[in-house]
Symmetry: C2
Subunit: 249 residues, 2 copies
Amino acid sequence: MTTVLSPDELEAKLRGVGATRYHNLHRFHRALHDGKLDRTQVQAWALNRYYYQAQIPAKDATLLARLPTPELRREWRRRIEDHDGSAPGEGGVARWLKLTDGLGLSRDYVTSLEGLLPTTRFAVEAYVHFVRDRSILEAIASSLTELFSPTIISERVSGMLRHYDFVSEETLAYFTPRLTQAPRDSDFALDYVRTHATTAEQQAAVVAALEFKCNVLWSMLDALDYSYVLGYRGPGVFAGPETPGAFAS
Amino acid sequence: MTTVLSPDELEAKLRGVGATRYHNLHRFHRALHDGKLDRTQVQAWALNRYYYQAQIPAKDATLLARLPTPELRREWRRRIEDHDGSAPGEGGVARWLKLTDGLGLSRDYVTSLEGLLPTTRFAVEAYVHFVRDRSILEAIASSLTELFSPTIISERVSGMLRHYDFVSEETLAYFTPRLTQAPRDSDFALDYVRTHATTAEQQAAVVAALEFKCNVLWSMLDALDYSYVLGYRGPGVFAGPETPGAFAS
C-alpha cells in the first residue's frame, strides 16, 4: 500500500479484512451455532470468552486515559458504561455471567479464571496491550471488528436457541443490547478512521490493526476447537463435569 | 500452599511442574522427534520458534534493566551474550537462522515474521511482558523451564537426525551449546529461587511463574499442531510450498 486511498476505498479494504478474517468463518463458530457442540463444549466457550468480556473495560479505559478531548472521552466512556453498567448486576460483563450461570457454571469458578485456556489469556492480553501501546488511531481501528458483529450475533442467538435445550433467551440476554450498541460504536470508530487515516502509512496501520484484532478472536477459537472439539486439552484447564468447583451447586 | 516449604521441597514442587506440564509431553513434540512430520511441518515449527528465539534477548534485557547489583547483571548479561553473540553470525539467534536456512526458508521471510501463527506471537509476547511486569523473583523463576531442556534437546537432536533426511548436524548447530548453557543458567536461577522464595506467597508465585512459562511453550505447540498437523490453518500464515517469498532461491 503505497498510494493514499480515498475514505471509501479504505472502508472497502477494512470490510474486506472482515470478509476474509472475521471469526464467523471459523469452524468452531459454525459448530457452535449449528448445534454441533455438547454442553461441555459450549461451557468451555462461554468460560473462555468471559475473560475477553471482562477485559474489554480495561482495554477501553487504557484508551480513555490517552484520548485528548472531552468529546472523544465521552464517546469512549460510553463503552465502559455499556460493559460495566451503573449498578450491580447491570452491563455486559454481568450479562455474560448470566450466560455462564445459565450453563450451570459457578460464578466463583468463572471469575477465578482458573480453568482458562492459556491461549485465551495470551490473546486477550495481547489485545489490551495493543490498545495501550499503539497509536490512538490503531487502537480505535482495532475495535472495528464490531462492524461485523451484528451478523455473527444474530446467527449465534438464533442458532443456539434452535439447537441447544440448555440455552434460553434469558441466558442469551448479553447479545440483545449488543445489536444496537455495536453498530453505534462501530459507526463512530469507522468515521474516526476514515477521517484520520490520511497517509498511506496510517492506512496500512489501521488495516494491520484490524487484522491483528481478527487474529485475536481467531486464535481464541483455534484453542477452543483444538482443546474441546478435537480433544487435545492441555494440563490444568476446564475439563467438563469432572472439574472440581466448576459447577453451581 | 499455605505452609512454607523448605528449599528442597520447593525444588521438588518445581520439578513436579516440569514433569506434568513441560512441552516434551506435547503430542507435537513427540511427532517432531519421532519423525512423523513432513518438511512443511518442520519448517512451520522452525519458523514459529524463531520468533521465540528472537525475543529471548528482549526478555532478558528487560530483566537486566531491573536487576539491582553488578553480580546479578553480569550473570544475566551472559544470557544475552549467548543469544546475540559478539560478532555477526555468532550466538543462538544466528544459529537458529542456520536451522531455518537448512530447511530451505528464506531469511528475509523468517525475520519478517510475516507467516507467523498469531498464537505464537501472543504467547511469546506474553512471556516478554511477564518478565517485564512481574517481580524479579517471578521473572527469574519463569526461566526455570531450562531445568528440563537438556532432555528435550537430546531427544530432539537424535530424533530429528535419525528421521529427517532434510536435517543435518550442521543445521542443528543451535542445540549443541544449549546443552551446556541451559544447565549453567538453570543452576543459577534455581539457586536464586531456592534462596529468595522464603514466604508461602513467594513460593506460590514462583510455582505459578513456572506454570505460566510451561503454558507459553505448550500453547505454541497447540497452535502448530492445530494448524499444520490437523490442517486448520487460519488466514495469512505460512502455508508451505505455495507461500510466496518463503523459500531461499
